[in-house]
Symmetry: C2
């Protein structure tokens, strides 16, 4: 049976030693409700819930075939209903939500750590509250006061859940071509008609009502993405007194059979002149939805960390227990029939790849979380503006780079098990299947890379990147010169700055250039970000002699020696541009040889 | 429904234009039974079988849960029995086997292409004949004439099948610690007792008998791998007249539930004083088994090509059909609601990664096949010796590099589908799950890397590599100087030569060094090999103006620009050595933070 123990000491190290959360909270009047002791208590409680409640539901949910669809209804896997009630009753759905609507208003740099534990132990379970929180954010940002009063308290209490209905069979990345229609009724509501696919938690048995946020086009709306509006479409209409009214004309037509996250119901949703209520202004639906999308995108990165941490813990334990072969330097445990496979450098290579990924990714998520907290809680307008730039720049990294590296990490961890990693009972193969979707949904990682290189870099003439590089350079100045990571980080800053300038220049004359090099650029910025995180970690550890801290510095050295070299490959690919891709004719790709 | 069309034109190009098979066959008296027309006919027949018989069985075998175990018996998925009979009746099991035992004695450079088609369309099906062929090779090499007469004709006719029983619960990579015992009987046979796991085709309903090749230890055998013998243990004992006798004391205890290749029965086999017959000499079992293992290892590489080709064909078709967004350079199909996603450079990047992998991998498999053919059919002792060195050096590349790159290729292909790639019905996720085992079984890819860097490089003081580099340099000398791949290939030769020398030097004083850099070295040699294949392909195409040939050269340019840069990262990792891994204490890996 797979194991999991929340890495609380590592989490507190990142939160308190690296990012000085307590100081940050004390210096911010809007964060007076949180302190170090409260944060620790929250993490400890979630650690128990993850380990003792939802971990045990994870393998059976997959083995049993996951969520089951029957005549319009969805039954979640055994135990999910009870666990979700416990989760909701514990106030976890509204952990980061406004106190006005029943939330706890906890800072993001803390909630990312709590979320990681759920992602580690039961990603299918996590998706049920996740979409509710995302939908809540969009409503909080754009809905009328009355709409907020009607929906948000019930959503944050876990009585109702939320969805985001964007994708249609012919329309995924390109939302400008959606066909779902919204016809106005006399009373100000709309009739929503169309089919949405890939709707996470579109139907399930955990909550008494489901609040769908639906993108649709009003009559005479402009073509393309400028003509999309956002609507609330509740599964059950809500009476004026807040009680549930009649069933709305929205229903699940089927659920998808997927590679993983089988416990999560991924639904085809049919809207048949369902009653809907516009959120915000007409034709501004996409912007409203992006409030939610950005939240989800950071969450996908945390899904990556969760999977990678879970994979690491299990692989490290297996490697310790598995006796096979002898150390190259002579028997390590001559009294045993063979040595633990931990003696083999190649096994350490895999484990250290995973561990380095976990520690850098976690630091990065807390770092981005802190930037989000500045945008939300700070009263310093200049700081808010800078943090907004940082969040804009780094959200694609958080989503795509953290899931790309996590997939590789889980594959490395599976390989530590040899043949046993391929057998279902060890849990590693499910971990990989469940994680793979994180690279695909909420905007594929390729789309994230286009967002980074286009809107976030070329469009602002690399301004956001310039601010980020300035911060990194200033930050590492206080590092001990004896730490190799100091010079390395500064060198990487220069290299990424040069690459960025090269891209901005090339894009001026070659329209295909950004798309051709986007993924490589995203990885270059990801590598810069992770080496920066190890620089921050080393900074927090440099004056402490205990093994716990010295190991942090050594892991940074491992990262620089064994992972960072990928930057040279990324840079060479960026230099080689677009022509080697674009020179092929369209029919080349499918011509039968 | 997933599609597949055997890439016959590409295959014939590699066989005839690049490696001049016809000339090779004509100049070799032992290959007089094969010519170009016969080879084409064989490939065309297999293409039909793959497309019209086993492709349709592939998805249902997975969806239905695969092979089913019931009270010691295994039922293969629907249609497998009829398809296997058709396969056996067609003479396919013995395609490469000696005519003396009913085979067709076809050269390996041809059979790798036929095998690729089966791996593309139904990898679970392929595993049933594959193990028979491998077991047949071990018997052909080491068994007595009487043993050969008894078993081989029935195995090559497909009436009986074969297995290889190596792994035990506590003993995988480290076969020196196996516990299965062989006690001598008075009649010269042995009683075999023990438990073997992960036995592919250990039990099934396709054949009337199953011939297990089992590694076991005789009484007083030396400790470790020098004390292992090989035994034939038939499921049903064979009477002197060749008819089936009584059931032997060997039975499947269960089958594994796996990530993929669910149609293949992976069995726990219990030997309870089963009657066995020693093959070859006592204590030489491991060497006998390695005859088979090397054969299987090349097959795993072909499994990679098969999956990658299948993934490419489906992704390219999807990309052509899927309309989403507009080209960066302006609408490509203004009459349609959106352009085919083929207009996007990032989509082309993924497709070209896969296609470049297919064409280089396929060329490499044929190249290694030709080297194997020289070792088997040539009468020139010097040529045989050189080919033996080449096969020794490149078998780990064929097994590990071709499966590492294939997994990445199938992941790229899945990503082309966006969310649809994660849905089971499109077949892409099954392709990945089925392929993943190829990196793990028959010696994990990490073990292959250790074999390459240890036995195949350091042990011979890089002699095999020196011969390989000399061949590459000589071969590219005739390339047109205008082709960028010429200078690039020569530069890479120098780089890999330098890395190899560096490794040989470091290994003299650092016992952990080879294990620490083995996987990176394997990838470096893999990249060298693939650029060499593109050089050979460009050589065959350089004088021809048709698009088919010019596209081959352009794909080589893509490879050099976008894939080969990984070599810089591999080299940097090799330079950074072992200390960053070995400096951590053992308990670091599992210490609860």
């Amino acid at each position: 049976m797979p194991i999991y123990n929340a890495p609380l000491k590592d989490m507190e190290f990142i939160l308190n030693d690296v990012f000085k959360a307590d100081e940050f909270w004390k210096n911010n009047q809007n964060l007076a409700h949180i302190d170090r002791a409260t944060a620790s208590a929250i993490l400890e409680e979630m650690a128990k819930f993850a380990k003792h409640v939802i971990l045990d539901l994870n393998r059976p949910a997959d083995e049993s075939g996951g969520a089951q669809f029957n005549n319009g209804s969805v039954t979640t896997p055994a135990g999910f209903k009870e666990a979700f009630k416990q989760f909701a009753d514990g106030g976890w759905v509204g952990l980061g939500a406004s106190e006005e609507w029943g939330g706890q208003n906890m800072p993001k740099m803390l909630t990312v750590l709590a979320d990681e534990m759920i992602w580690s132990t039961n990603p299918s379970f996590m998706l049920y509250p996740l979409l509710t929180v995302g939908a809540g954010m969009a409503l909080n940002d754009r809905a009328s006061q009355q709409q907020k009063q009607t929906y948000l308290p019930k959503m944050y209490s876990g009585e109702w859940s939320g969805t985001m209905c964007l994708t249609e069979p012919h329309s995924g990345t390109d939302l400008g071509i959606i066909k779902t229609k919204a016809e106005p009724n006399a009373d100000g509501s709309y009739q929503i008609s169309g089919t949405k696919i890939f709707i996470t938690s579109g139907e399930h048995d955990l909550c008494e009502n489901i609040i769908h946020l639906v993108l649709a086009k009003t009559p005479n709306a402009p073509a393309g993405s400028r003509g999309i509006s956002l609507f609330i479409v509740p599964k059950y209409l809500v009476n004026d007194d807040g009680s549930l009214g009649e069933r709305n004309a929205v229903a699940a037509g089927s659920i998808e059979h997927k590679m993983g996250i089988k416990g999560s119901a991924t639904c085809v949703m049919n809207f048949d002149a369902a009653t809907g209520y516009m959120v915000g202004n007409e034709n501004e639906g996409l912007a409203a939805m992006f409030v939610m999308m950005n939240y989800e995108r950071l969450s996908m990165g945390i899904q990556g960390i969760g999977a990678s941490e879970y994979a690491y813990q299990n692989a490290a334990q297996y490697a310790t227990d598995r006796l096979q072969g002898r150390a190259s330097t002579g028997a390590h445990s001559p009294e045993k029939p063979a040595d633990s496979i931990l003696v083999h450098a190649d096994v350490r290579r895999m484990l250290l790849n995973v561990r380095a990924n976990n520690e850098a990714s976690r630091a990065f998520a807390v770092y981005v979380g802190q930037q989000l907290d500045i945008t939300k809680f700070s009263t310093d307008a200049e700081a808010v503006e800078k943090a907004n730039h940082r969040v804009a720049l780094l959200t694609p990294i958080a989503k795509a780079y953290l899931t790309d590296t996590a997939l590789q990490a889980t594959l490395d961890a599976q390989m530590v098990f040899g043949g046993h990693g391929y057998i279902r009972e060890w849990g590693m193969e499910q971990c990989i299947r469940d994680l793979r979707i994180a690279q695909i949904y909420e905007g594929t990682n390729g789309i994230q890379a286009l967002d980074l290189i286009g809107r976030k870099t070329i469009k602002c003439n690399a301004g956001y990147m310039g601010e980020y590089l300035a911060e990194i350079r200033e930050s590492v100045a206080s590092l001990d010169d004896a730490l190799t990571i100091k010079a390395k980080t500064l060198a990487i800053c220069q290299q990424v700055e040069d690459l960025t300038q090269f891209i901005v220049e090339q894009a001026k004359t070659q329209a295909d250039f950004p798309s051709a090099v986007a993924v490589d650029y995203l990885h270059a910025v990801g590598l810069l970000s992770f080496v920066y995180m190890f620089a921050r970690i080393s900074q927090a550890a440099q004056s402490k002699s205990e093994a716990f801290y010295q190991n942090k510095i050594m892991l940074g050295e491992y990262y620089v020696a064994k992972v960072l070299p990928d930057l040279a490959a990324r840079a060479a690919r960026i230099q080689s541009g677009a022509s080697v891709m674009m020179q092929f004719q369209h029919d080349y790709f499918t011509a039968q040889a």
